[in-house]
């Protein structure tokens, strides 16, 4: 019985003695499992099996993936902040096509439309067009008509792809750094920085100040008087 199975049987068994499990689940993550699992983020056994299944399937063929990669690089050209390849955007899009089957036809059809279009205009696949030719194509499909409730298929396709590229990038390590998000780590919140408050012409009400945490006393055990006033 491998480690995952042993945990599974304990969790799924008819009776689990809560705390007794601790010893088992904190075992070092040694090479108990044959397959090294890239994604460790608290999956249930069922979710993990589903992820593995999707990761072992392939939806886009290689030429489709090449086109997606090229398009992603046109949407977000590489710069010193980060690239779509570093952000694993093509891999992410491949995964989402399997995770959200409802986008499959729109994506595959959109890629076909793109090549049909460039064949008519330039007599070659999109991927073989010059950068200038590729820009010409995108200029026609990258701007939804703000006055229309209905957008053409190719515009919808490009918007979907752009959304996936943008979210793929800004949820990557490089993208998060570029965005300037600095949280997701233990810290002590003590309010909006003074200079930011000043920039916005805001301040904390004097009358509210006594209600707030005194972070120097956060470790002192809470105690109250009989009227519910905090006295520690």
């Amino acid at each position: 019985m491998n480690r995952r199975d042993s945990i599974r049987s304990l969790f799924l068994g008819s009776m689990a003695g809560g705390l007794a499990l601790e010893g088992c689940v904190t075992e070092p993550k040694a090479a108990v499992e044959q397959k090294i699992w890239e994604y460790q983020y608290g999956r249930t056994p069922e979710e993990q099996a589903y992820d593995e299944k999707l990761l072992n399937e392939q939806f886009f063929d290689n030429s489709e993936l090449e086109t997606i990669k090229r398009l992603a690089n046109l949407i977000l050209p590489p710069n010193e902040e980060g690239t779509v390849e570093d952000a694993k955007v093509p891999e992410f899009i491949e995964f989402m096509a399997k995770d959200f089957p409802s986008i499959q036809t729109k994506m595959r059809g959109g890629l076909m439309w793109l090549n049909n279009h460039t064949h008519k205009t330039f007599s070659k696949d999109f991927i073989n067009c010059s950068e200038e030719e590729q820009h010409q194509v995108l200029d026609q499909i990258a701007y939804p008509d703000p006055n229309s409730a209905e957008q053409k298929q190719e515009v919808q396709f490009f918007s979907l792809l752009r959304n996936l590229v943008m979210t793929g990038y800004f949820t990557s390590e490089a993208g998060i750094k570029e965005l300037g998000y600095v949280g997701n780590q233990p810290n002590v919140w003590d309010g909006v920085p003074e200079e930011v408050l000043k920039d916005h012409g805001l301040s904390y009400d004097e009358s509210w100040m006594p209600k707030f945490v005194d972070q120097s006393k956060r470790n002192d055990l809470a105690q109250w008087d009989e009227k519910g006033n905090l006295i520690s």
Partner: protein, 572 residues
Amino acid sequence: MQIIENEKQYDVVIVGSGAGGGMATKILADAGLKVAVVEAGPFFDPANPDQQTQLKWPYESPRRGAGTTRAFGEFDMAYGGWEIDGEPYNQIGESKFDWFRSRMLGGRTNHWGRISLRFGPRDFKGKDRDGLGDNWPIGYEDIKPYYDKVDKLIGVFGSKENMYNEPDGYFLPAPKPRLHELYYKKGAEKSGVTVIPSRLSILTKRINNERGICFYCRQCSRSCSVYGDFSAGSCLIFPAQKSGGQVDLYVNSMVREVEVNEEGKAKGVLYINKEDRKEYRIRGKVIVLAASACSTARILLNSKSAQHPNGLGNSSDLVGKYLHDSTGTDRMAFVPELMNRKRYNEDGVGGMHLYSPWWLDNKKLDFPRGYHIEVWGGLGMPSYGTGFNPNDLNKYLGLKVGGYGNQLREDVKKFYGSVMGMSGRGESIARKENYCEIDPTTVDEFGIPVLRFNYKWSDYERKQARHMHNTFEEIIENMGGIVLGEKPGANRDYGLLNPGRIIHEVGTTRMGSDPKKSVVNEFEQLHDADNVFIVDAGPFVSQADKNPTWTILALSWRTSEFIIQELKKQNI
């Protein structure tokens, strides 16, 4: 099918391990009783690294946080959702009730918003005010001592405000508001809308030596690995075990029915072990149901016997009736002054740092009962969806929308943190016509008949939702923001979300002193079987414009003390 007998005889068998079941476990085990907790989902401990999602980055997942497998995004700590494979439910006619279930130790307390509000004196006596619904058989003074004890045991931050219907408690200090919350405060106060610090069960200060203190990652919805927020497993059930309580956990165990003896008293429960799919019996002197309002109603209605032919506790024919959820509708705003923000760590606690409790007098309004306003926004952690429609907001600035190239990077950075939102959460009127019942046409994968729902909003709720949007728009204008999206009209019920969406469903086994008009008495004891108690939100006579959890906890504590007394007196 052969039933597998459990040799143990328990003092109490508790069905469900969320807020109500967790509290009953703690109080009853601390009193020395032998307790079995039967939970439909797996064991869960937020400190278990194999189950933990707290502090994970979106890129640690192949889908970057998308909500394919969990309704609120895949890092959210609820195993289950609106739909669960193999556990269907149905609707009657046009009814659209959405039923959220979380199958795990601790239930929905692992992901909830931690908004921990006491019901006030008026909330127990709604009928006295407007003639609608019914009064509770108890009042604030009956439950106040238990709210006090819950505050001290579990911990809740807030501030003393001396507002009659928003009773103060034993609060931990509140965190300072975030930037967008200060904008909200400015806008709301200009409209005469009260704004006070939030009241959330998150430890901003040490409350005991077993639990850690909040380290401000804003991820309470992922359940805290240092137990800095309230979840029933980490704050009630584990402590009950640690202090030497006789608590046996039966996980992945789906209760089908409560069995009764010849006198019609409960003697135990039958459950299906999801692992081997066999049927088991556990016996107990007292049965405490805490499976959630609708699941408990389902168990009772499926517990038919010669003694209780209409289902256990259902001589009144009211089990499943008076189902009601909070009203809810949301609106978003773009605040141009929040563009190009300076970056700093603004995570804070898992939820808003301030909110608006109900501030008006219904006598001057065209709907009964109130609502509170929740606020959201800020420099949050990116997740699936961040960067979608990267520059749609350009249309408000007279700039071009769409395009490609590195300008898009600048657009995303420009707008990051400039959109915020408000959610109204209000009180609906409990009505007999809104109910769940057994659907004889359908079983779940364990062969257990499932529920079907009949729930329709009335004009009371629709008009309340309309008022919410009017308020939101006024506040947004006052704070210099631009209202996003169309104002929902009558054709969309003024944006009122489907019943069930706010996940505050209550009322299916309501309490009262008249056995013909209620299912349980004021101690949440079945009128029809005195050794069966219900400690989830089923016994609520009316939902207030508050979140139900703190009241579930206080009532469960009160009921558990009653059970201990009655066992001592050998009354049950």
